[in-house]
Symmetry: C2
Subunit: 259 residues, 2 copies
Amino acid sequence: LRIKLVVAYDGTDFSGWAAQAGQRTVQGTLTEAVRRVSGEDVEIWGASRTDSGAHASGQVCHFDTEVGIKPEKWARVLNRAMPQDLAVISSASAGEGFHSRFSAEHRRYRYRIRTGPRDPFQSRYVHDYGKPLNLRLMNKAAGALIGEHDFLAFTEELEPRVENTVRRIFHADVLEYHGTEMQVEIVGTAFLRGMMRRISGALLEVGRGFRPPEAISRLLSEERESLQWPVVLPAKGLCLVEVAYDDPPRDHRTASDLA
Amino acid sequence: LRIKLVVAYDGTDFSGWAAQAGQRTVQGTLTEAVRRVSGEDVEIWGASRTDSGAHASGQVCHFDTEVGIKPEKWARVLNRAMPQDLAVISSASAGEGFHSRFSAEHRRYRYRIRTGPRDPFQSRYVHDYGKPLNLRLMNKAAGALIGEHDFLAFTEELEPRVENTVRRIFHADVLEYHGTEMQVEIVGTAFLRGMMRRISGALLEVGRGFRPPEAISRLLSEERESLQWPVVLPAKGLCLVEVAYDDPPRDHRTASDLA
């Protein structure tokens, strides 16, 4: 039976999603919890391999089990074996056609930039910029992200180039929150490693007047080679908010995923 | 010149307010920050000696300085030397008659009991009870706290009895928050050690039906000797929200403070 979980975590004390020997990771912690609960050594697939220090309020993952725990009971059972910085929000059965990563129709990320004075209760979850930013310019710049673009300038420079760097963005908004922070919200099919943190970096540069709003379009074009690429902001400001699926699930892998 | 600071901290990684050799404390961290900024070795007095693990969004403290930093600049200057779990919200000059602890007219504390499912972003700041509580009964019980009472049953048993255990409470309310937590808010002149955590413990016992609401009045009366005293809830759910002063400041020490 395939079980789908929605999980939330404060990523501060995790070395990211993906299991690594000797590191405390979200995938590793969940795998160990399943082992304690059911005695099974399962493979847990996550929709997104979040970075070390990045958070999730709506990460989705799945695994296959043969024990007789009811699908909707898994959340409660696993939560008894969870540390305080990780929780299973819900559990459900998923068809064999469902794959948390490959069936994801879109992912929603939020990046929080604090413009107001430092708040010790938010410091783990925001990038502390500490000065005002121009919301109007940031939103003007964000609009250029929508659609299908080559996000090469927004990812880690890899040598050799292994991936197709074209991605599709559906929504890109900057919201002011309580007058003390700017929240960058981006919805897209899939994201390249570091892409969300570099988009937020570019928008921060626009908001403080270091780049004009038109810089985003230029970074998405062939012109990128002659431009300074955006800074990457710290992982702690990033949160995976939602992963959405079609019903019934479809395979959303791109040609490069399948290669 | 006497400087008054309002400070906020996530108490999770502090061994409380009061400086102790070899421990990371709020008072010690602030004292060290002043030393780095001004070269002075000052004594910093806090309005409340919060417990290890308890938080503050509006703790007040003061110290005397002879350097020429403008009073309202101290906040910004000190914040450069602060760790991410401690922030100075504001700084101002205070008259010589002002004492953060002795002039405090009232203190407001909030205790957060989570009734909904666990949330990894709140786990450091709430007591995870995880089941519904009866708000109406809790508020009925809380009403009995208002006024001047002997809070002996709500404090640590000390041998020998060193203190006057009579305190005055102005407000006592339980508020439901987002359907996922109960917030106990108490305003009083001063609080005994552990008193707020035991008041919250007693109200939790009422809310889950373990005690009737009338139990609070009985615990405040001579009957207390024949009753089971309330449990103490964990420090992590507690936050010092506000300390208020008269203008001009008055000395609010009790006879036992002065003894």
